[in-house]
């Protein structure tokens, strides 16, 4: 159970993405994107991609083609093409939104990418050969507020979107010219663009920070600001779902989640450490264990914990515990974890997840 951690400055990291061979790490920080070389014990900065005027909110590296998509609060998205000499050439994508872009992800087949925005719309962008540029189509209809996250279904047609109007929705992002007709799924059979295939709320409400499909695509999990994780098992198109399981926790809300397998989910957020949930549609879900558990960290021995000492500390410093114990958190991350992504998998199960957060650290947890 070893976790490797890299502290790369103190600027909060909005999003991160590893390349397919895990040799390159892209970090979205402030108004630029930094590409790090991950070979070696310490990550070294390779290049910096500057092209946005405001905070970059998402970065995603397409695993096969190596293209990077970034989106930012300046209402733009850029697609960076790698050139032979290691530099990247940006192409502007006109998203036609009039508010910040919040999230961007490539589809699994890498022909499209989806950008969530504060303009109550999701822009699904694809490359049009005829005009030689990226075109965006908007999904607007039932969205009532900012979209916080968009994640693709393995068939590259369905999209799960979490939004600040407390709903997690499943849309179809089928583009006639780019996608082949998808096989029927439990979410729907004929799914033209912008079809709403599912709309779910957690019992206590609260912003849906992240929503993701299971590896097979037959279940949807989302985390919301009421500190709960909800797993939805649909039974068929146009029918009520077979099961909606909601796990409430007494922890602080989660911001990001990753499916480890069909029966395991890892979520992380304001508690600064990941937590694993285990379950299934038959037996229900429960919280299994915490990774990097702060309660298990041994208190630094060597300090007498006598009452005399405690009062002496209070007299001297104003707090009963000494400053060094108090000012750092017992977890590896010192601030909220904002993004979790699958890092390594073996045997059909994700074994490592990478996480970044507001404290500027990149940590790879073994789960």
């Amino acid at each position: 159970m070893s976790h490797s951690s890299q502290s790369l400055g103190h600027v909060p990291i909005e999003d991160h993405s590893f390349s397919a061979d895990r040799g390159t790490l892209a970090l979205a920080r402030d108004i630029g994107v930094e590409l790090y070389d991950t070979s070696g014990p310490k990550y070294t900065l390779r290049t910096s991609l500057a092209g946005h005027d405001k905070t970059v909110t998402a970065v995603d590296i397409a695993l096969q083609s190596g293209r990077i998509v970034t989106c930012s609060q300046d209402r733009n998205a850029l697609v960076w093409e790698p050139a032979a000499d290691g530099t990247y050439k940006p192409t502007l994508v006109l998203l036609r939104i009039n508010r910040a872009a919040t999230f961007a992800r490539w589809s699994p087949d890498e022909k499209k990418f989806a950008v969530g925005s504060g303009a109550r719309a999701i822009a699904v962008c694809y490359f049009e050969e005829e005009n030689d540029w990226w075109v965006s189509r908007h999904i607007k209809k039932p969205l009532r507020s900012t979209v916080l996250s968009v994640e693709w279904h393995p068939n590259s047609v369905l999209l799960a979107a979490g939004s600040t109007d407390s709903h997690a929705r499943v849309f179809s992002a089928f583009v006639k010219d780019v996608d082949a007709r998808p096989a029927p799924t439990v979410w729907g059979e004929r799914v033209p663009f912008q079809t709403l295939c599912g709309d779910f709320v957690s019992p206590a409400g609260g912003w849906v920070h992240d929503a993701a499909f299971s590896p097979s695509g037959n279940a949807l999990a989302f985390v919301s600001h009421d500190s709960s994780v909800t797993v939805v098992y649909p039974s068929g198109p146009e029918q009520p779902p077979a099961a909606i399981v909601n796990i409430t926790t007494t922890m602080l809300p989660f911001i990001s989640l990753v499916w480890l397998s069909e029966n395991e989910i890892v979520a992380a957020g304001h508690d600064c450490h990941p937590v694993v949930f285990v379950g299934s549609d038959q037996q229900g879900w429960q919280l299994d264990h915490s990774v990097d558990d702060p309660l298990k960290v041994k208190k630094s021995s060597g300090k007498e914990s006598s009452a005399l000492n405690m009062f002496r500390q209070m007299d001297l410093k104003g707090t009963p515990t000494s400053a060094s114990e108090d000012s750092t958190l017992p977890t590896i991350h010192q601030n909220t974890i904002t993004k979790l992504r699958a890092y390594a998998s073996s045997g059909g199960r994700v074994t490592k997840v990478s996480s970044t957060g507001v404290d500027g650290r990149v940590v790879i947890f073994s789960v």
Partner: protein
């Protein structure tokens, strides 16, 4: 003005004339789609040249991201029972088209309108 960028080959004028006279007695909508060919800036009918007789077929045939000109004759019955068949030019301009394409088609629309001799 100096000579214009766009040319109207005789095939287009003929196809426009055929549509105009052919649709006089038709009972279904008749439409043809025209585009500007990038090679020589001429306004030609999209190949395969065909007359669309239903609006659904027309909608399917129009591209999602580039402008086109559609000349349409639409027979209809008005509220008071008269038969009318307005002959119109549709300047189809999707919002996702490139700026370059929009400018190209905007320049030619007047010329094409004059040639097609539509009512509006």
């Amino acid at each position: 003005m100096s000579q214009s960028l766009y040319t109207l080959p005789p095939t287009t004028t003929k196809s426009l004339r055929d549509l105009r006279f052919g649709s006089a007695r038709a009972t279904t909508p008749q439409a043809r789609i025209y585009e500007i060919s990038k090679a020589d800036m001429s306004i030609v009918e999209t190949s395969p040249a065909e007359v669309y007789t239903s609006l659904e077929d027309l909608a399917d045939a129009l591209p999602g991201n580039t402008p086109r000109y559609v000349v349409l004759s639409y027979p209809m019955v008005t509220k008071d029972g008269r038969h009318k068949a307005p002959y119109v030019l549709l300047y189809y301009r999707p919002v996702t088209a490139t700026q370059q394409a929009k400018m190209l088609y905007a320049g030619a629309v007047e010329i094409f309108r004059a040639q097609a001799d539509v009512n509006r």
